[in-house]
Symmetry: C2
Subunit: 498 residues, 2 copies
C-alpha cells in the first residue's frame, strides 16, 4: 500500500503523510468501464446511430419519386431545395469553364436581394459568400430566418439597405439552389456527382455576371466578399474592371498559400476516405456524413484561434456525469472530454448533413487553385501572353518603380525585400489599378494569414493603385472575425463604401 502511494505521489510528500494513507488513497470515478469490461465509444457509436437513422428514413421513403431523398428526418438539407425562399435565374446558354473542354450546358443560380435598386441601376453591391454559405445572407420577406451576415445587412448597417441594392448568390458548385455536383446533369438525367467539371473562382464569377446581365446591371457600385468571397470579389473586378466601382476583400487572398491548401487537403482527404463517399456517387444512397463531420472539425480548427480557445475553453472538461462521485479522480475518456473537443464534435455534428460533400470538395479545390499572379493567369490563357499596354509602369521591371508607391497604412511598413512572386502578383492585379479597394485582415487568422492580406495590399499598390485602404484587426477570433466583429469589420466597410 505504501508502495502504491509512493508511486502516485512525489516521495517527499508521500513520506510526510504516511500516517494518513487510507484517507489519501486516490479514488476513481466508476463511469469508465474497468479493463475487464468491453470499452464503449459513444463518439464512434454516434456515427453508426446516424447511419441507422438515415437508412431507416431512406427505407421509409423508398416509395417517393427521388430515391434516397426523404421528406423529413436527418436528411441532407441541400437535398430539399426550397425555391420559394430565394430567386433562381436559369441561364440556358453554355458557360465556358477555365479547366474544361466542355462548357457547362446550362445552369441555375440562386440569389436573394435586399434594398431597392435605383432608377439608374447604379447602387448595386454584389456580395460574395465563403465556401459553404447560401444566398441567405440576411433575413428576407420570403425567408425571415437570420442569414449568415445578418448583422451586416440592413438599414444603417455595413451594407446599408437604405442606400444600396444588395445581391447575394449561392456560388456555382454549391448546393443551395445553384448548379453544382448534386444537380441533375441534363445530358444524363442523373446528378453530376464527380463528373461535374473542376471549377475555378473565375468560373463562379462568370456565372454571377450572367445573372447581372439578366438583371440589366451594367456596373456594380461595389463587389464585396469575405474569405473565399474576397477571392471572388477580386476576380469580379479583374474580369471586368469597367463593371466594378469598388472592391472589398476581407480575410481573403489573391494567391492561395500552401498552408491553406494543406488544411483544405486534409478536409478533402478525410471526406474522400469515407466509404459512403463512393467516388462521389452517393446521391441515391447514404451521404458521407462521418467524413463530412470529420472535415468540418478540421475546418473549425482553422476558423478560430488558439488564443480564443485559451480564453473560451482553457483546459476545462465537459461536465462530469451525475453518477460520478465528485471527490473521485475523473477518469478521462478517449471520446470528447475537454470542452474544446466537445465544441469541435458539436461543430462537425451540426454541419455534416447540411452541406453536400461534393460541393465541399469542388469549391475547396477552386480555392486552392486561385492564383492571380500574372504567370498563373497566363498559364490558364486568362491573361494574354504579351501584356497589354498600360499607363501604369510595369511592376515586374527590375527597378520596382512602383514599389515606392507602397505608402501603406501606418500599421505595416512596405516590404524591404519583396518576395519574387509579389511583382508577379502586382502584374496580375494590374486591371485593378484604378479601382478603390479595401483590404482587411485579422492578425489571429491562421487560414488567410495577415501576411496574405499585406501581400494583396502591397501588390495592388505596386500595380499603381493609389486607393488601397488597408486595415489589420487584432482580437482572438481568427478567420471568423468577419462573421463576428460588427463594430470593426462593419465600420471599415461603411467608411469605405460611403
Amino acid at each position: 500500500m505504501s508502495a502504491r502511494l509512493l508511486n502516485l505521489s512525489r516521495p517527499s510528500i508521500a513520506h510526510s503523510s504516511l500516517k494518513s494513507i487510507s484517507k489519501r488513497l486516490p479514488r476513481f470515478s466508476a463511469s469508465r468501464p474497468v479493463s475487464s469490461c468491453s470499452p464503449s465509444f459513444p463518439c464512434v457509436e454516434a456515427h453508426a446511430a446516424r447511419e441507422s437513422r438515415l437508412k431507416e428514413n431512406s427505407r421509409a421513403s423508398s416509395s417517393s419519386t427521388t430515391p434516397g431523398r426523404t421528406e423529413s428526418g436527418p436528411e441532407p438539407a441541400y437535398a430539399r431545395p426550397n425555391p420559394t425562399s430565394y430567386n433562381v435565374y436559369h441561364h440556358t446558354h453554355p458557360l465556358n469553364l477555365t479547366y474544361s473542354h466542355e462548357p457547362l450546358p446550362s445552369f441555375d443560380i440562386a440569389y436573394e436581394t435586399w434594398g431597392s435598386i435605383s432608377p439608374a441601376r447604379d447602387n448595386v453591391i454584389l456580395l460574395h459568400t465563403g465556401l459553404s454559405a447560401s444566398s441567405h445572407a440576411a433575413s428576407t420577406a420570403a425567408n425571415p430566418a437570420d442569414g449568415w451576415w445578418q448583422k451586416f445587412i440592413g438599414p444603417g448597417k455595413a451594407l446599408d439597405t437604405n442606400q444600396f441594392f444588395i445581391i447575394c448568390t449561392n456560388v456555382l458548385g454549391g448546393c443551395y439552389g445553384t448548379t453544382g455536383p448534386s444537380s441533375i446533369d441534363p445530358t444524363t438525367g442523373r446528378p453530376y456527382a464527380t463528373t461535374f467539371p473542376i471549377l475555378s473562382i473565375f468560373d463562379m464569377v462568370r456565372a454571377q455576371y450572367r445573372l447581372l446581365d439578366h438583371l440589366k446591371i451594367d456596373k456594380l457600385y461595389a463587389s464585396v466578399g469575405c474569405s473565399m468571397g474576397a477571392m471572388q470579389s477580386l476576380a469580379t473586378a479583374w474580369l471586368h474592371p469597367d463593371r466594378v466601382g469598388k472592391v472589398v476583400s476581407i480575410s481573403g487572398t489573391a494567391r492561395s498559400s500552401p498552408s491553406s491548401v494543406a488544411m483544405r487537403y486534409a478536409q478533402r482527404s478525410v471526406l474522400m476516405a469515407d466509404p459512403n463517399w463512393n467516388n462521389g456517387f452517393y446521391y441515391d444512397a447514404l451521404p458521407p456524413h462521418t467524413g463530412m463531420k470529420l472535415a468540418r472539425q478540421i475546418a473549425t480548427i482553422t476558423y478560430r484561434s488558439g488564443p480564443e480557445w485559451d480564453q473560451r475553453f482553457g483546459r476545462q472538461f465537459r461536465p462530469r456525469p451525475e453518477s460520478d462521485d465528485p471527490s473521485t479522480i475523473r477518469v478521462p475518456a478517449l471520446c470528447p472530454d475537454f470542452l474544446i473537443e466537445t465544441y469541435l464534435d458539436h461543430q462537425g455534428e451540426q454541419f455534416c448533413l447540411k452541406y453536400d460533400a461534393n460541393s465541399l470538395i469542388y469549391i475547396s479545390k477552386a480555392m486552392d487553385l486561385f492564383d492571380m499572379t500574372y504567370s498563373a493567369l497566363q498559364e490558364l490563357k486568362l491573361a494574354s501572353t504579351t501584356p497589354s499596354a498600360s499607363s501604369s509602369p510595369d511592376p515586374s521591371s527590375s527597378s520596382h518603380p512602383s514599389l515606392h508607391k507602397t505608402s501603406h497604412s501606418k500599421s505595416h511598413p512596405p516590404p524591404l525585400k519583396p518576395p519574387p512572386h509579389l511583382s508577379d502578383l502586382a502584374k496580375g492585379l494590374q486591371p485593378l489599378a484604378q479601382i478603390p479597394t479595401l483590404v482587411l485582415g485579422v492578425q489571429s487568422d491562421i487560414l488567410f494569414t495577415v501576411e496574405q492580406q499585406r501581400e494583396v495590399a502591397d501588390a495592388l499598390r505596386m500595380a499603381g493603385n493609389d486607393n488601397v485602404s488597408y486595415y489589420e484587426l487584432g482580437g482572438v477570433w481568427g478567420h471568423d472575425t468577419f462573421l463576428i466583429d460588427v463594430l470593426n469589420v462593419g465600420g471599415a466597410i461603411r467608411g469605405f463604401l460611403s
Copy 2:
C-alpha cells in the same frame, strides 16, 4: 467561338486579339477523363489496394502462430518486435497508474544506450522521445540504422558519448517493445487493445524510474526531452527532484493548450472513424491503415510551418504525366495535385503501417491530459492538498514576490500582467526550483507555441528557479526544428550540459 473566348479571357484582351482566335483557344490536357467517363481517384484506390495487399498477406500467413501477423509485406512493423536490436527490462511488480483503479500487473520497457556509464554512475542522461519514436535514437552495434536523433548523439555531439551514458526508452503505451495497447494482457492472453488503461505522462516516467532502479542509477546527470519528451523531462524532475541534476525541455509544455488538444483530437477522430479500428480490437484483423494515414497527414501539418512550405513547395504542382501536352492547360485533379498535397500524402503513407493506432490514441491523450499547474496536480492527488513547507516564497501569493525574479533572457520581457494560471503553474513547478533547466522553443512552432515555452520559463522563474536558460529560435521548421537544427538546438544543449 468568340463568345467562348470572351468568357475565358478578360474582354479587353479578347477584343484586341480576335484575329487570332484559333491559335488562342485554350487546349486541355487529356489525362483527366471527360465528364462522360467514370472519374477515377487514385488517392482513394491507394487505400483499397493497401487493404487488398494486407488481406492477401494475412491469408498467406494464416497458418502462422500469430493470426494476422505475417513475415513480410506491408504488415505493421510494430507487430514484428525485434528484441535483439534493443534491450528489454521486464518489471514483474505492479505499476500504479494515475487514472486507474487497477495497477498494470507487469510491464516491459525497451531501451537502448550509448556511451559508457562512469564508475560513480553519475554521468547518465535519460533521453525522452516524442509521441511515436522508438528507443532507437541513434545507431548502435545491434542496430546500425540511423536513429531519430542520429545527429545529436555521439562523440563530441550535443549528447556527447565521450562524456555521458545516454539511455532512451520506448515509452509506456508505445509499440516498439515497451508494453502498450498492442501487448498481450497477461490476465487474458490477448492484446489489451482498448482495455488498456488511460495513461498519464507521469505513468510513463514512473515506468522509466523502475528501469533506472533496475540499472542502479540513483541520480540522473540530466533529463532531456523534446516535444512530448519535454513533458516527460519536466515530470521526471517533478516526481523525484533529488534524482535529477539538470532538465532540458525543448519545444514542450507544462500544460497542454486547447489548440494542441484540438489538433490531436482531430487525429484521434479520423482514426477512430476508420471501420478497421473496430473500437480498438483489430489485432487479429486488418489495422486501420487509412485512418492512420489521415491522422498522420493532420499531424504533419502541425509539425512544420506555412513559411517553410512557402519556401519549399510554394504553389508548385506535381510533375505532369508524360502523356500530357505541355502546351495545354493542366486540368487539376481532386486527388493530390500540388506538391504540398503529395508531400502530406507521402508522409501519411510512410507512417500508416509503422505505428500502432491504439498507441497513437493513448499517448496523444496522455499529452492532452498533461498539466503541471498545482490545482491540476492536486485534483489527481499527485500534489498534497496542503503544500509542503518550502524555502521558496509561495508564488501564488497575491503580491507575486518572485515575479521580480523573472529576469528572462534578453529575447523576451517578463509578462506585465501574468495570466491567472501562471502562478498556479509556478506553484506546481516548485519542486523544480533548485534544478537548472534549459527551456528552448521555436517561433514558427504552431503545436507547442513559443508562448508555451515562455510560460514554462516564466513559471519556473516565478517558482524561484534562478537557473533557467531560455532560448527562442527563429527559422521556418516549426515544431520539427528539434529534429533538424543541429547547430542551434544541439549547441544550446551542449552549452547547458557542460
